[in-house]
């Protein structure tokens, strides 16, 4: 009971100090007001006057009767900002300044996740940036814990970060396994989600085999995979080169189809066939077995 009394006394003192801080002459305005909340402005106007409440983001005008206070209703002043309250009477002008701050409850989160498509196994390859807003679309500047979660078929990565000036950000690794991942941000009861496509990386090992077919030789790669074992995307170009006595005889670019690349070359005895894709070189085959 005693603690409650002390707490109440402290609250009243704090409120009185806040009120006093914004007071200027007879115009009494709370120093800070939460966006959308109701409050009163006390005036000492001895005759009819006009009260202006002005910021670049919102403007109010109220006629004031002598000695009356001005009630600003719930929702009337909803844009966070620094406001000038100006009471203009026939013979005098009074002013006070106060701040409207964002509501403390987050209502929406603006989420930027980049990129939407990236290779697997990329350290800190995915970035997420979250801006937290209240119900009136004010940036919530009070620090708030924001949770980021990147989940695919494996173990999800989770990170919790406090906002600073309304923004929180993280960088996360892409998973070893290719596929779509859900990138989710949540703050309080508000969440937002993006899909990040994790695609196979560059080919890791490249091997081919050859078999004769009359005057031709058919060369075919084994299924091409990245270093994590993901099948490299169809359409990736594989280059077969045939040389004879060090001179290039034929070069064929073949797109991967169902993980393999396949082509036919002249079966010239003594020629050497090599295979490559990107920066990866595969094995060589010498025709004629020499």
């Amino acid at each position: 009971m005693k603690e409650r009394t002390i707490l109440l006394s402290v609250s009243i003192m704090a409120a009185a100090m806040q009120l006093a801080a914004a007071e200027s002459g007879g115009l009494q305005v709370p120093r800070t007001v939460e966006a959308g909340s109701a409050f009163s402005i006390t005036t000492s106007a001895s005759s009819k006057a006009v009260l202006y409440i002005v910021s670049p983001l919102q403007v109010l005008r109220r006629d004031v009767e002598p000695g009356a206070s001005v009630d600003i209703g719930s929702g009337a002043l909803h844009n966070a900002g620094h406001y000038l309250a100006l009471l203009v009477g026939p013979s005098s002008t009074e002013k006070a300044e106060f701040d409207v701050v964002a509501a403390s409850q987050p209502a929406s989160v603006s989420f930027l996740a980049k990129p939407s498509r990236l290779p697997v196994n990329l350290p800190e390859g995915i970035s997420g940036v979250a801006y937290v807003f209240d119900v009136f679309r004010n940036l919530v500047l009070k620090p708030m814990p924001v949770s980021f979660k990147l989940s695919d078929s494996g173990t999800p990565q989770t990170r919790s970060v406090a906002t600073r000036n309304g923004v929180a950000w993280v960088k996360m690794n892409s998973a070893p396994k290719a596929g779509a991942a859900q990138f989710q941000v949540s703050v309080g009861s508000v969440a937002n989600k993006r899909v990040v496509q994790q695609v196979p990386g560059d080919p890791c090992n490249l091997r081919m085999s050859a078999r004769r077919s009359g005057e031709r030789v058919v060369v075919e790669t084994e299924p091409v995979r990245d270093c994590s074992g993901n099948a490299v995307s169809d359409g990736t170009i594989v280059t077969f080169t045939q040389t004879y006595n060090g001179r290039s005889e034929a070069t064929v670019d073949v797109p991967l189809k169902r993980d393999v690349a396949r082509t036919e070359l002249p079966a010239r005895e003594g020629s050497v066939i090599s295979v490559a894709t990107g920066v990866v070189m595969g094995n060589e085959i010498r025709l004629g077995g020499r």
């Binding site: 120093r31 800070t32 006009v50 202006y52 002005v54 910021s55 670049p56 983001l57 919102q58 403007v59 109010l60 005008r61 844009n79 966070a80 900002g81 620094h82 000038l84 100006l86 203009v88 002008t93 002013k95 300044e97 701040d99 701050v101 964002a102 930027l112 980049k114 990129p115 970035s127 940036v129 801006y131 807003f133 679309r137 004010n138 940036l139 500047l141 009070k142 620090p143 970060v161 406090a162 906002t163 600073r164 000036n165 309304g166 923004v167 929180a168 950000w169 960088k171």
Partner: protein
């Protein structure tokens, strides 16, 4: 009797006039200080910093013109999204009440505090000194000198950075990540 001004005198007079105009224009420009030492996590290149500051200062000019003339279309060059919507709403309120306001920024102390990893947003804090004039039905009510701390988030568009979030915060309200 006609006064005859020699050619050299005319040149001096013209140079004087130009100097006076330039001097007046210089007085109209706000004093600007920029601190980008806390920007990150993305590296802020000198050219990007210059462009952001230039476009933010231009946004104040757009804001001033739009609120002075009650023309929301003047916001389009510098504002997008929430900031543009809210400023346009304020202009609508001014029109409905028969008010006009004029903001003249006197000085800006800019601190760039965040440049997002992918380069799609940049946040700055601006301690700005400005004069605010309120005009009610063509009668000037008052001009006040004010100081406020603004938080602005800018995003890149085709040719410039535009302000997407624009709101003042109390001086006491700053803490959080990284502190």
């Amino acid at each position: 009797m006609k006064a005859v001004i020699p050619q050299s005198g005319k040149a001096i007079l013209l140079a004087g006039c130009i100097s006076a105009v330039l001097l007046l224009a210089a007085f109209e420009q706000p004093a600007v200080q920029v601190d980008a030492s806390a920007a990150g996590p993305r590296t802020l290149e000198v050219q990007t910093r210059a462009a952001v500051v230039r476009d933010y200062l231009q946004a104040w000019k757009s804001l001033s013109g739009a609120l002075q003339e009650n023309r929301a279309d003047l916001l389009d060059a510098s504002f997008v999204g929430v900031a543009r919507d809210k400023l346009a709403d304020a202009i609508g309120e001014q029109q409905a009440l028969g008010l006009k306001t004029q903001y003249r920024d006197v000085s800006h102390n800019l601190k760039i505090v965040f440049y997002s990893p992918e380069g799609l947003s940049i946040q700055l804090l601006d301690t700005v000194q400005y004069d605010l004039q309120i005009v009610d039905r063509d009668h000037e009510q008052a001009t006040q000198h004010l100081s406020a701390r603004y938080v602005a988030v800018l995003t890149p568009t085709e040719v410039r950075w535009k302000v997407r979030v624009f709101q003042a915060q109390p001086d006491t309200l700053e803490s959080g990540q990284g502190k």
